[in-house]
């Protein structure tokens, strides 16, 4: 597992180690300041971390999918989406087909989850399914499959747990220290050397306040790096960066906010569900790089679809500076050409129009909610709710009676 992440980006590993160090430090200060025993502090920190990790590892994906009220679909429910996921599964060389989920929400977003490529899921909102055409959807699914293939899902879950542990310990420790200092001054004065104790206590409190902030910044930094890498990988799979670029454009333009997202799950999505308009370009406290920048990089990939081309495009957009993809990964991919732009009318079959797509998705959502659909001869589609008791229903337009 670690080889995968390391091969993809060594900096991510360093940042994770930094977060782990932060957790140990906070355990250390907890021990010194509260329990007069370093071991006790470290043990408490590690136990909280371990419990949360196990929970996230074994139940994380189910919890996330349940929280976002995602519904699992089968091949027949939406053949086009299923096919696109399968195409990207083949392009990435994943061995197992990921499960596909739909979130009934007009906002446009998508995420991937699952602890390993063998147990992975991809979820998209119905809004996304309605508004993206085939190439755009392929770009988005490519991005999500890239997260699975690059093991970002597990990495971000582990980082999320580290972050959560640090925040929880800091939250309770600062309060305990504060009340301890105000009401329980006797203990430290009897031990003698109160001066040194006090200094350590002060450092401890300052650290407890700062640690969560550092942890957040590290977490966001890892998240942003993985987003760039997933964009580059999606372009590599589809050989068509324009698809993802134009999808991101639509996603960025949509104003609907995802109802079921919250701050903890935000880094999982393809774009930040809480983005605000006009945010500073390289914001330290953002889980995702700005959409406009991601689009510019993808559109600057003139030479090909390899990592090296993404790297060049990134440098071009950023006017030099360090790249985002580790040299090892860049070297692992040979020169890769872009997919030839096909004449729209020719090989690309006529896509279902926006109206057809909308109808398709709304039919699917009815079906997932156990409504029966009856096609009346007059062209009306009757949707029968699951609790409908009577055996017959009359078409409101033409008066034909259908049995259910």
């Amino acid at each position: 597992m670690w080889e995968q992440i390391r091969a993809n980006q060594i900096r991510s590993v360093i940042l994770v180690v930094a977060m782990g160090a932060l957790l140990l430090l906070i355990g250390y200060f907890l021990g010194v300041a509260l329990f007069h025993s370093i071991i006790a502090g470290l043990v408490i920190a590690l136990v909280i971390w371990l419990v949360m990790s196990l929970f996230a590892f074994f139940q994380g994906d189910s919890i996330l999918l349940a929280l976002s009220r995602a519904r699992k679909i089968k091949r027949d429910d939406h053949p086009r989406l299923y096919n696109i996921v399968e195409e990207m599964k083949i392009a990435s060389g994943l061995e197992k087909m990921p499960d596909i989920y739909i979130i009934d929400d007009p906002a446009m977003n998508a995420f991937a989850t699952g602890r390993s490529p063998e147990r992975a899921s991809v979820a998209v909102t119905s809004g996304l399914l309605q508004r993206l055409n085939r190439d755009e959807l392929q770009g988005v699914i490519g991005h999500e499959i890239a997260h699975i293939k690059n093991r970002d899902v597990l990495l971000m879950a582990m980082c999320g747990v580290l972050l959560g542990t640090i925040v929880i310990i800091a939250f309770f420790a600062t309060r305990m220290l504060f009340f301890g200092a105000v009401f329980g001054g006797r203990r430290s004065s009897s031990a003698g050397g109160g001066q040194a104790q006090l200094i350590i206590l002060a450092i401890g409190i300052a650290f407890m306040i700062l640690a969560p902030i550092f942890a957040y910044l590290i977490y966001f930094s890892i998240s942003r790096k993985r987003e760039y890498l997933a964009d580059a990988t999606s372009a590599l799979y589809t050989r068509y960066p324009e698809g993802l670029a134009s999808a991101l454009e639509k996603l960025g333009g949509s104003k609907a906010e995802l109802k079921s997202a919250n701050k903890a799950t935000a880094p999982m999505y393809i774009i930040n569900p809480f983005r605000k308009k006009g945010r500073a370009a390289a914001d330290l406290t953002s889980t995702h790089p700005p959409i406009s920048e991601r689009i510019r990089i993808l559109r600057s990939m003139a030479g090909g679809a390899a990592f090296a081309d993404y790297e060049n495009a990134y440098r071009q957009v950023h006017k030099g500076g360090k790249g985002v993809i580790s040299p090892a990964s860049v070297a692992s991919v040979g020169a890769v050409g872009l997919r030839a732009a096909e004449p729209e009318a020719a090989r690309r079959e006529p896509e279902p129009s926006k109206v057809e797509r909308t109808r398709e998705v709304s039919d699917l959502m009815w079906k997932l909610n156990d409504y029966k659909t009856i096609n009346c001869a007059c062209g009306t589609k009757l949707k029968v709710p699951p609790k409908f008791k009577s055996g017959q229903v009359r078409c409101p337009h033409c008066g034909r009676v259908h049995s259910i």
């Binding site: 053949p79 086009r80 696109i84 399968e86 195409e87 060389g93 799979y237 050989r239 004449p343 009318a345």
Partner: protein, 187 residues
């Protein structure tokens, strides 16, 4: 004594390198085989879809007998080429891709056909199968590149030579029909 230890350590290190290289060669070769199997699955799927497609389309396309026959012939040839080596198979499949794309281009002239639900479902399947073929080919070629590099570059080429790993063939589409853009007539 010391010399003995040094020699022993060197031998152990060499054995570890040998072991690791051999295993990675096996892994890459299996990946190539697996990728080839993927292509095969998709090609077979396409062969199975075509009779269905012809059946659906025939009633609508009275004046396109040649196009339809070209597809059927290309499909039969491609099916014969199965198992005839990477080179022969990729050539036959390339012809089939060309014939199919000409057929799908002609479909534009038949609005009735484009409204047929059965045909639309088939068309989605066919488009996706075409995509899957090219994606599996892409993955196969990437795997072959990695594997061939390993078998040809020093020092792994020495071990590859000793243990009988040979370079694999790429799946190339060298057919004029597929490279030239299909023509669409709006007459």
């Amino acid at each position: 004594m010391i010399a003995g230890i040094v020699i022993g350590v060197v031998v152990v290190i060499l054995l570890i390198i040998l072991w690791a290289t051999y295993n990675s060669l096996v892994r890459l070769r299996n990946q190539v085989k697996n990728a080839w199997a993927q292509i095969d699955v998709q090609l077979k799927r396409r062969h199975d879809l075509i009779p269905n497609l012809i059946e659906t389309v025939r009633g609508y396309m009275k004046h396109e007998r040649e196009t339809l026959e070209a597809v059927t012939n290309a499909r039969n040839l491609a099916q014969k080429a199965v198992g005839g080596g990477v080179g022969a198979q990729s050539k036959a499949e390339g012809e089939l891709s060309g014939a199919l794309s000409r057929l799908l281009a002609v479909v534009e002239n038949y609005p009735d056909l484009k409204a047929n639900q059965n045909f639309l479902a088939l068309q989605e399947e066919l488009t996706s199968t075409e995509n899957k073929i090219s994606f599996s080919r892409q993955f196969y070629n990437d795997s072959v590149l990695k594997y061939n590099n390993k078998t040809q570059m020093f020092p792994s080429n020495v071990i590859a030579g000793m243990t009988g790993f040979r370079a694999s063939e790429f799946f190339e589409v060298e057919v004029a029909a597929e490279r030239e853009a299909p023509k669409v007539s709006f007459s």
